[in-house]
Symmetry: C2
Subunit: 78 residues, 2 copies
């Protein structure tokens, strides 16, 4: 079945406490010089053919349900 990926990341201007925590943990464990931002990855299996309409449906619910577009950016990859 076709799979569409939706990546959701905190906007660059938004604080990212999870990413900050990971960056801090890495530094404390001796991994210097990394800056981490943490987001979400959705792998969406689509029943049937991945038509243009289906892909648009994914884009719509990615925007309205998967991402909080006040604080997050998203991309749809098919």
């Amino acid at each position: 079945m076709p799979v569409v990926v939706v990546n959701v990341m905190p906007k660059p201007e938004i604080l990212d406490p999870q990413g900050k925590a990971v960056t801090g943990a890495l530094t404390r464990m001796g991994h210097q010089g990394f800056s981490v931002r943490q987001g979400k990855r959705f792998e969406i299996e689509v029943e049937g053919d991945l038509t243009q309409a289906r892909l648009e449906e994914v884009r719509q619910f990615a925007e309205s349900l998967l991402a909080n577009t006040v604080i997050e950016n998203f991309e749809v990859i098919s």
Copy 2:
């Protein structure tokens, strides 16, 4: 600065309650025929050059810190 992406996803044989919840919410909202798995995406900015050694360092901490390899798969993309 170079960015390395680490994707962490629940293994196929592992239940994914977050993904199941998203799938259920989509179905209830009229989006039929989608099956969602939810994982994490890390975007890692690397200070300086992305040498082979630095990339190996990312691979190592992805395996030991970012992913729980008992229940999750990961991939490193540079």
